[in-house]
């Protein structure tokens, strides 16, 4: 224990650990919103949308613009938080109708190349529209300060994120398991041809699912915007981390995404304490272990 304490001085600092746990949970929340969308799109359309990190980034940038553009009002932040993800959903819908609809059923490698191309296109468009400088989004006034938890200051904005996490998870569960639309999604995941044969407009369902998943990514980006520097590299960073989440949890598994998003959030949060410069290596190590032991993820199903 003394050896450990020498190596990691924070290990005896209970309150610091608690704060670290909670900030890990909130990072996990953003990751969950992105990775559950990726998982959802993959489950229904069999496309791995590499541009999902880009949607997250667009969500954050729309937040910047909306906060600057909307009139000064106590509810300005909340209005922006409502509108930004909707904008991303519209963007996702346009991309699905104009582009992805043409490549369903094609070689998976070609689909990957197309969504990879989207990363470059969206990244450049964001650069053109918003410029190369980092942006920041102010927190809403009510949540601008911090609260003390066991004597440690903890930003109250994170409390909002932590409160939303279970709410979003429960809503998703209700949508998937208690609505007709959710039932259609689950049916499409199992057998799309049969669903089409039964008279469901599968094409429309694909668009709806894609828009919904884009909305989730946009919500993640909009919520994360006040906690990070809104910058051009966001898309790649979040894509890689969301990918790790999806691999660990299992592509196509919602519960898997939730558990592994929180796990990865914690790992990132503590990784910064353990090896500050390259905490991503910890993530990679965890992913490598999962890939060796269960290549299809903790709660996923084997390929084929």
């Amino acid at each position: 224990m003394e050896f450990l304490a020498g190596l990691f001085p924070w290990i005896t600092n209970g309150p610091l650990i608690l704060v670290q746990v909670m900030s890990g949970l909130s990072v996990g929340m953003f990751l969950f919103l992105v990775s559950v969308g990726m998982s959802l799109i993959f489950g229904v359309t069999r496309i791995v949308n590499l541009a999902h990190g880009s949607f997250y980034m667009v969500g954050a940038y729309l937040m910047v613009t909306l906060i600057e553009g909307l009139p000064e009002h106590p509810l300005r932040f909340w209005g922006a938080l409502l509108l930004a993800p909707l904008g991303v959903a519209v963007l996702g819908g346009l991309i699905e109708v104009a582009l992805l609809r043409r490549i369903y059923g094609r070689d998976p490698l070609m689909q990957l190349i197309v969504t990879f191309g989207l990363i470059l296109i969206i990244g450049t468009l964001v650069l053109i529209v918003w410029g190369p400088d980092n942006k920041s989004v102010p927190r809403p006034e009510a949540l601008a300060g911090s609260v003390r938890i066991l004597g440690q200051p903890f930003p109250s904005y994170y409390l909002l994120v932590l409160g939303l996490a279970p709410l979003v998870a429960v809503c998703l569960w209700l949508i998937f398991y208690r609505t007709r639309w959710g039932m259609l999604i689950r049916a499409a995941t199992v057998d799309r041809e049969m669903l089409g044969a039964l008279g469901v407009d599968v094409s429309r369902l694909y668009t709806e699912v894609f828009m919904f998943a884009s909305w989730l990514a946009g919500l993640g980006g909009a919520l994360a915007a006040p906690t990070v520097a809104v910058a051009l590299g966001m898309d790649g960073d979040v894509l890689i981390t969301a990918f790790v989440v999806v691999v660990i949890g299992g592509l196509g598994s919602f519960a898997g995404s939730f558990i592994s998003a929180l796990l990865v959030g914690e790992l990132q949060s503590f990784g910064i304490l353990i090896i500050p410069a390259i905490s991503i290596v910890l993530l990679f190590a965890l992913m490598a272990v999962v890939l060796v032991v269960r290549p299809w993820g903790l709660l996923g199903r084997p390929e084929e």
Binding site: V48, P108, M110, I113, G123, E193, I278, V281, M287
Partner: protein, 312 residues
Amino acid sequence: MTPVAWRWLVALLIVLLLLPLVIPAFFVLLLIEIAILALFATAFNLLMGFGGMVSFGHAAYFALGAYTAALLVKKAGVAMLLALAAAPLVAAAGALFFGVFIVRLTATYFAMLSLACGQIVFTIIFKWTSLTGGDNGLLNVWPPPLLKAPAAYYYFTLAVVGLSILALHAIVQSPFGYALKAVRENPRRARFIGVNVRRHQLIAFVLSGFFSGLAGGLFAFFNGSVFPDFAYFNKSFEPLVVVLLGGMQSFFGPLAGALGFKVLETFIARQWPIYWPLFLGIVVIAVVVLLPRGFVGLLEARTWRIGPARRK
């Protein structure tokens, strides 16, 4: 190769040898870049065209080669040729390290894990400031005076790239190359006739990393400096575009692709650098979406053999 093909190749070689005598230095430099990109793309195509594996993180091995060469010359004072020889070895070691995990996966997972590994290499290079200089890169990595003139480095590059491409061609034509194609066409059947699928894929991955690293080393001395951008995923897109442009089913396709790519880059990227990734993205999507029956169709024809069942 047929005698006709040999004749064309010899003619091409003579033209390439004589060109620096008649064209301005700017174009000689462009030719060097084309040759290096051609090597990078041919190494990439060993995986994509002949192994059926798409890597989205190949810039990592290019960057490993470039940084190995630059670090050895700058920090250890090693001679340029020795540093250049070490570049592909370190890149191959990196490819072996990541490849062990990557080749366990197929199609989608393969591409995504290779992307993740590439970003890890990028992050390490970017963050390890004391060794790599971080964002500032490493400057003043020049070849010895003998090779410093554009024409001299051109001939040197041409020799190294030419020999490497011949070596890659020999690899593709060897029993190993045929076994690799068998693995691409039908992994299960290849396994039944006694081919060790994983091992063949891993060897192809390491060989591809080796030659990517050599291309990176050549580029470090050409550029005179190395930057973390070399490992960024935008860079991984370059060999992919080159191969798509040139045709992935032909061994020499990437050579033509590299020429086309660099000519476009010279006109577009130098004029409007920020639009260049936009252009790359649009070109690739257009090729994939609009030309399903072109060379892309050739790959598509074997869709039923890769990964999960294809839906109609």
